[in-house]
């Protein structure tokens, strides 16, 4: 039996490399100053899906929600062997918190499932920009599907069930869940394959309509909207003819209720953002000499820190 697999991926700023340049004076992070990368654990989710397809046959569709440039992670998925990719992009989705995001993603999974029933949704355990791990369980809840989080290995799929090994934090367990179901995969999941050079050459030219439009705004700054739209239509049609158009959906395409999207659909509000200020209290520099070190140890014994 062939499986219909959906992988939810995210393009994230590389938060491991936040330097002074990426911080604005008001303490907020300037996302555009950080390199955008494929969220690391999502690559393990994609790899899990690709291996299932290789073993069992089927189709891997990758979905991402974000601005047009998020197409980069879709191309990176196609380069590794995904069959299809869809960009979810809509200004009305901006400022969505995890609850609103999961609503939109669940609508998008439903849209994929309208063509053929989806068996499994795979996600990375969490994204490195927010580290919340909330979107996948909230998406599963809205789909009304079971979820298994912190998955390290998918052992087997068959007979309408999936068997996995997951980390419980205090050990591990092997769990069997009925399909359809949602899994989140940790960085202990299967090692992501590199992009295939051949696929990379082919996929390089794949674009979404949103990317064509933003390129045209730069290329034809003086043209009127109508001219630009006509040109975008022509380019999109040209790509579609060669199977190189990455479809993009907006909130209308997935029949989303706008009350549940974006700022309105988000119960949580950011009250304040502060940058982390490092302030050592009573820092004392100690010389790397026998005398210096002995003096420090003496102080630590005197104040009962040691002893």
């Amino acid at each position: 039996m062939a499986y219909n697999l959906v992988v939810l991926v995210k393009q994230v700023p590389d938060t491991q490399r936040v330097t002074g340049d990426a911080m604005r004076d008001d303490g907020t992070v300037n996302r555009s100053a950080l390199p955008a990368i494929f969220n690391p654990e999502d690559l393990h989710a994609l790899e899990t899906a690709l291996r299932l397809r290789e073993g069992r046959g089927g189709r891997v569709t990758v979905l991402t929600m974000g601005p047009p440039q998020a197409c980069e992670v879709l191309r990176a998925s196609l380069e590794r062997g995904a069959d299809a990719a869809v960009l979810l992009t809509d200004r009305r989705a901006a400022a969505s918190d995890t609850l609103a995001t999961s609503y939109i993603l669940a609508r998008a999974v439903r849209r994929v499932a309208a063509d053929a029933p989806v068996d499994l949704v795979l996600c990375g355990r969490q994204a490195i920009d927010g580290d919340t791990a909330q979107v996948p369980p909230q998406t599963a809840e809205k789909l009304g599907w079971p979820q298994v989080t912190y998955v390290e290995e998918v052992e087997e799929v068959g007979d309408g069930r999936v068997r996995v090994r997951r980390n419980t934090g205090e050990g591990s367990e092997r769990v069997e869940a009925p399909l359809p179901c949602l899994l989140t995969v940790t960085d202990q999941g299967p090692e992501p394959r590199p992009a295939s050079a051949k696929r990379t050459m082919a996929v390089k030219k794949w674009k979404s309509r949103a990317e064509i439009e933003s390129a045209l705004r730069a290329e034809m700054p003086d043209a009127d909207d109508e001219t630009r739209t006509r040109e975008a239509d022509a380019r999109a049609a040209g790509l579609a003819e060669r199977g190189r158009l990455i479809p993009h959906w907006d909130l209308d395409d997935i029949e989303a209720d706008l009350a549940w999207c974006g700022r309105d659909g988000s119960p949580t509000k950011v009250k304040r953002i502060q940058s982390v200020v490092l302030a050592g209290t009573g820092f004392k520099k100690v010389e790397p000499t026998e005398e210096g070190v002995a003096g420090m140890i003496h102080e630590l014994i005197e104040d009962h820190t040691i002893g």
Partner: protein
């Protein structure tokens, strides 16, 4: 959706596994006690399982005014749907104003499922919680006595304060080790509220085939002194320096993610955002540069000694004593000095 209930209690969901209460639930009761006192409401603990009433006394001693004890055979082992259903129904019935979960793998699996079902907000991995007011910029509406949900974001490079003005309950998860363990007071009295969650076989759709509990080899959380090594230690062989100093001090051994990823030491020893959060009396950081992910797990130590070859290493910004130098000469000097005093 649940209307805000300003008389609602503060709830802590206390996690238990195989008959043992997880520390994080008790830690949350100490913070929950403060929040409830500030708001002038009761603090309640919720504990679910097959036979868990024995935990009620301890939850009361740790600060709870009430303990909801939900027992059902289908709750004997944690799985998402029955637990989420039981808590969702309880929340809808009693309308607490705040619900706090531990940010353990269990809590991070359960809380978002409940928040999604209730359609309320949820903030993950808070490092502090407080009560305060908030004025919404767009509507100029002021909300009093909201829960400030304070958490690091962007890999710990910023601290965000999140509020949930009107789609309650206000829910948050808090990491293990972040809040202090409460002092148990044997004289505290509380009310036990037993209930039978409405769950059926149709909810318990997962089959747990095998359950394996790995005892942690090290107990960093309980250690009074920790000596930790990072990338600057240079190699697996050289990691014995860390062990030697730890032995001299009677300390537990910790490590940065870099040292764990390099395979010099087991992951159980990892301190930081993806490891254990510690607050020992003394933390000695050897060759640890002090990335924010590491600092967030140890900066609450009472005294921090850092030894690093790089004078610009961020670890010096949180250290009380800083030694710029080579571990291979400095650590033996430290061991000597300790031995001479004892």
């Amino acid at each position: 959706m649940i209307e805000p209930n300003r008389d609602g209690d503060v709830w802590v969901v206390a996690e238990q596994n195989d008959g043992r209460l997880h520390d994080v639930g008790l830690e949350l009761l100490s913070k929950g006690r403060e929040l409830a006192d500030t708001l002038g409401v009761r603090l309640a603990a919720v504990v679910l399982g097959e036979a868990v009433e024995q935990h009620a006394d301890r939850l009361v001693r740790c600060g709870a005014d009430r303990v909801f004890v939900g027992e059902h055979p289908l709750l004997s082992h944690y799985q998402t749907n029955p637990y989420a259903k039981a808590i969702t129904a309880l929340v809808e019935e009693h309308r607490p104003q705040i619900v706090i979960f531990g940010a353990t793998p269990l809590g991070r699996d359960l809380a978002p499922r409940v928040a999604s079902a209730v359609r309320c907000g949820l903030t993950a991995d808070c490092t502090d919680l407080d009560i305060g007011s908030h004025t919404e910029a767009s509507t100029k509406t002021t909300y009093d006595r909201l829960l400030y949900q304070i958490r690091p974001a962007f890999g710990g490079n910023i601290i965000a304060t999140i509020v949930n003005p009107d789609r309650w309950p206000q829910m948050a998860t808090v990491r293990d080790g972040v809040m202090r363990m409460p002092e148990e007071s044997p004289d505290r009295r509380g009310e036990v509220v037993r209930f039978t969650p409405d769950v059926s076989d149709g909810d318990a759709v997962l089959k747990i085939l095998e359950h394996h509990r790995a005892e942690r080899k090290v107990n960093l959380k309980a250690a009074r002194t920790i000596v930790a090594g990072g990338a600057g230690v240079g190699g697996k062989e050289n990691f014995r320096l860390v062990w030697d100093l730890a032995n001299a001090l009677g300390a537990a051994v910790g490590a940065s993610r870099a040292a764990v990823d390099s395979g010099w030491i087991d992951k159980d020893h990892q301190v930081g955002q993806t490891g254990t959060t510690v607050r020992p009396a003394l933390y000695v950081a050897l060759g640890i540069s002090g990335a924010v992910q590491h600092r967030s797990g140890m900066s609450e130590a009472q005294k921090i000694v850092a030894v690093n070859a790089d004078p610009d290493a961020p670890i010096f910004k949180v250290a009380h004593y800083g030694i710029v130098g080579d571990l291979n000469t400095v650590v033996p000097m430290m061991i000597d000095a300790i031995k001479k005093r004892v």
